[in-house]
Symmetry: C2
Subunit: 369 residues, 2 copies
């Protein structure tokens, strides 16, 4: 365990209270997910000694608030990882690819929210409610955090899998624009200003002409949905769709699981929704699924459509759990369920799960686990 | 064949040109679909003699334009159907349930776009590109037009079925607000004005509080998606989801087809989109599917994501065909395809298909077919 007092720009605060606790670095502290992360670190049980904020050199010197204290951001460098026990990375793939191994070489456990290491067989891909045990085996000193779309459903799927044995997932997403970062949010907000108060949306191309620049998206996001997220990969699949498939298999420990996803972007700021057709090895009932989901950690069952109760992004945004509603048993298949699932893509879909993984490591390092 | 000159308020226009042609009545001419219908009747090959416009008594006397001529709306009554050969109904279920049989008893073929008769075994449910032959057998003198969500995909599915033999459909919808009529459109437009230019959409319930009244929807439509359309039926299914199942089976003539739908409303004015997992009896390839879809009547293949080509509602709205893109073969199943399909829910999804059915009947009545 590293000391606290020997680092400048520290967020150590009350040294006595934090003595003996591990040091956390947040790399990418000034980004969209980093900002949510600082809020989450301020809300959760305080397991950390120092919290060091790291960002690109151009952000160095800025002061950000975490745990109610001002902490100065330091520039990303090898030295910035001195004495760090756990380093969270919320940065682009190529930055993680370069710097997470450096953090690991300095003795930190890197918890990475990029796509750089997720499918590396020597890097565990962890969702604490589903496979916390996997975090202990990390040959490269790196643990990956899953993609936000996978994370928006996997806690609920893991709970159902534990009971019924999952054999197939067919998923369609309704993904929020914040999955494309601040630029995605700004683009939708600007487009909404252009279409609000108009009669647009009834003639071919009228919305496209009115919004002009589509920003990071391959089509207008206001008054539209766009069936493409990420980049184009083999056989017409997008990177986002392949992530849902490959990551779900790895997290659940089911390398042969049948998984098909079609990812569609919708004009929602934050919170991904998914329709899920989940097939199991054993017969299912709605009552049994309800019981499992109602008691699963990290899941909220919201399923009483007679009273208008089902999850929607507008209600789920800003909350931590995976929300599940519209649970039905497939009429043609007693082994399959249909569900509608919502999860905040910046919280459980990114910052929260990263924080949870870091806490699992902290507990291990301090002998609590 | 009825004459033209014996009806007042007629839209007969040039009597000589229209002599011998069948008389059409449009019931519900002043509604959302009726308005689109008048435009479609003005664009298509002119197979009609008189076009009579019928609506509720409070709309009687209004003048509407069809085929470039002003036609006075007459009030719905038994007499209004005198001399009518084909009567289209774009009215609520209960109005159709009462009046379509009256029109039929007066000798008209009723083409009904409500849900009143769709599952009646004595009423054919017709999509001309798929099952035009079914229109000839109509023991009650009524032909039903399918629900807009079913119609948004069924032409493409019918073409693929003819080649590969369909065995299962798993569908998720991205349904436009105009499916809930003018009130639906007005509600979304009003909500967009309330959220545009704000920072809403990041805190639980902030959009819900800002938009207030949710109109005909069970949740906010701006910056949100709502996994509920229609009314609640047995076992947690909605009426809309059951329609997709039951109507697809009837149109395709496959009473045992496995069909599962989850219907979700999205903030789009007009044009429904669907993700479709389609399983077939025979092995499929993307190349063969492309070939079929590219040559299928009423279908546009738009599938080159490397060039940013895939259908979106903003581009499809106001057009007639079913647009298909993102065609992929399921990685786990050589017999299954994944597709993204868009169709204008007011045109092919309602008015256009009704007009096409009426034209099939007109051709039969005039001996052209």
């Amino acid at each position: 365990m590293s000391g606290v007092g020997d680092v400048t720009n520290s967020g150590g605060g009350s040294a006595a209270r934090r003595a003996g606790k591990p040091t956390l670095a947040v790399v990418g502290a000034t980004g969209a997910v980093g900002t949510v992360m600082l809020g989450i670190l301020s809300e959760r049980a305080d397991v950390w000694g120092e919290i060091r904020l790291i960002a690109s050199p151009r952000s160095a010197g800025r002061k950000l608030t975490v745990r109610g204290e001002q902490v100065e951001v330091v520039a990303l460098s090898e030295e910035a990882f001195e004495g760090v026990d756990v380093a969270m990375f919320d940065v682009p793939d190529e930055v993680s690819a370069q710097w997470a191994p450096i953090a690991a070489s300095k003795g930190a456990v890197a918890v990475d929210n990029s796509g750089a290491f997720r499918m590396d067989p020597n890097v565990p891909l962890v969702v604490p409610e589903v496979n916390a045990h996997a975090a202990r085996v990390r040959p490269r000193g790196i643990i990956s955090n899953p993609n936000c779309t996978t994370l928006s459903m996997i806690v609920a799927m893991g709970a159902l899998h534990a009971e019924f044995g999952l054999s197939e997932l067919i998923v369609s997403s309704y993904q929020a624009v914040s999955g494309a970062g601040k630029e995605g949010v700004d683009t939708l907000r600007e487009q909404l200003v252009k279409v609000a108060g108009t009669e647009l949306g009834t003639q071919p191309g009228d919305v496209r002409r009115a919004v002009g620049d589509t920003g990071p998206f391959p089509g207008p996001m206001a008054l539209n949905v766009v069936p493409f997220a990420g980049s184009l990969k083999e056989d017409g699949w997008t990177s986002e769709e392949l992530k849902v498939r490959n990551e779900s298999r790895k997290i659940l420990g089911l390398p042969g699981l049948r998984v098909t996803a079609t990812c569609v972007r919708v004009p929602v700021i934050t919170t991904h929704s998914l329709t899920v057709h989940a097939r199991f090895e054993n017969e299912v009932t709605v009552a049994a699924a309800h019981e499992i989901l109602a008691s699963a950690p990290g899941v909220v069952l919201c399923d009483n459509p007679a009273k208008g109760e089902f999850p929607t992004p507008a209600d789920v945004v800003g909350t931590d759990p995976t929300w599940v509603g519209r649970v039905r048993r497939s009429m043609d298949d007693p082994n399959a369920l249909e569900l509608f699932v919502c999860g905040d893509n910046l919280r459980k879909g990114a910052a929260l799960n990263t924080a949870q993984i870091a806490e699992v490591v902290a507990a291990e390092l301090t002998g609590v686990a």
